[in-house]
Symmetry: C3
């Protein structure tokens, strides 16, 4: 099967992890990275930085798939802006799922979301657009994660939790089942 | 190979996760769910609630395997009562192991216990009857987990820990190696 | 393919876990264990304790691969002494990687290090000699872990963290991205 092309938008640390996921998934051919103007022609692993934001309309002519690979710690503003820009241009933002992750067939994941290595989406979960479900994170049965959230590395959302749009849920955070979570949750938090 | 029939006793959130495990294990055919009388004929995913506790003796005539799918957070009384009732009627309570979990061949697991997705039972471990080893939990080498315990999501039992009967060990809890644990351990605890 | 021989140095609890990893990896044939003189001829699982430290030069004549299977909690002095002794004699200290672990092809791991079950080494990581990356531990993108460290069970090193030589990073510890970590980090710590 011929692999489709994809362009990655953002060339930092999170991009390293996403490259590893896309390579393992073996479904897309990474044609290059979009980053700051001053980084053009530098490499991220073996992939070239082929342009900056201003070049996206031109790139769309040869590559219709894109994914936001900027991270989300202090703020998700840049991730949202890029997601909306990509949509406006007409890009398809696929769901990227690591073959080392598990996603229940009873669950739904929306466009532009990446499901990183060894994360787990249990049964009857809904995950919105442009989210990061980071490495080893657990989203338990009956959860809802709204758009533009980052569920960080090894964090745990227990059963039937609702995570509001734009939430950062920190690394190794854990929470009571059935609650609502929003805002900025620090790494290692126990949320009740 | 023809799959054997199984009936699930308890139709709440934990049942959603157990259904996902049983479907992935692909060893048993779920004939239906037992729940409260007022829920009869409702569905849990594509499975019908076919009866309440009073119907178990009748159901046993056509299905000899059962598993308790009620959760255990505040109390395990209902799980124990149901387990004992099922045993009295004559049901076989198999061990259910997710194909995404790992159980060392040097370890033993007793009847009616479920080993959920991506959990890990390391070498030289003994786990009792009617336990939940929940999603992503880790039971390290040389541990003993007695009957009717719930080792919650992403929790960690380090080497040679003994967990006494009826213990609830909360989500993302961690403990020192070689200690005894019993009672109700809150999510996110560090037990020394 | 004929399996190569290996001798394990240290017959305690950590050895139980390493045996499970080596058996699953199915690459080495364990010829026996080295432990204290008074334990010679006892068994660890089905493997005999065939000698003590003083016998290593003799054992090297029939087995050129060795791995340190002593644990590292309070101190790593014994692990370092044994590693250096094995190297002096001429032993090859292979990297042992559980088939249940994931190591990015963009990462490097040095001799004598064991990567235990369900641990994950993400992209662009360097791990030194004689380390334990214990069960379910996560080493995120761009980390450096120097020699003789123990990254304990289910702990999380977030992106671009540097862990100095001899560090103990406790079970379920988590840390901010991009920081330096050294010394003794207790189980369940949140390091900023």
């Amino acid at each position: 099967m011929k692999k489709e092309n994809i362009v990655l938008v953002g060339g930092g640390g999170h991009c390293h992890s996403v490259i590893d996921v896309i390579e393992q998934e073996d479904k897309y051919n990474i044609i290059g990275i979009i980053d700051l103007k001053e980084n053009i022609d530098k490499n991220v692993f073996s992939y070239k930085i082929i342009g900056c934001d201003d070049d996206l309309e031109e790139i769309f002519k040869k590559c219709q798939n894109a994914i936001v690979t900027v991270g989300h710690i202090q703020s998700n503003t840049l991730r949202k802006t890029l997601f909306n820009k990509l949509k406006r241009i007409g890009f398809n933002l696929p769901v990227i799922i690591s073959p080392l992750a598990y996603v229940s067939k009873h669950s739904l994941i929306d466009e532009g979301t990446v499901i990183m290595h060894q994360s787990l989406i249990n049964a009857n979960v809904k995950i919105g657009k442009n989210c990061i479900i980071n490495t080893k994170a657990l989203v338990e049965h009956d959860c809802i994660v709204e758009n533009h959230c980052h569920i960080s590395t090894s964090s745990i959302l227990n059963g039937a939790v609702i995570v509001t749009e734009n939430t950062f849920y920190g690394s190794n955070a854990v929470c009571k089942q059935g609650i609502n979570i929003n805002g900025f949750i620090k790494a290692g938090s126990v949320v009740k």
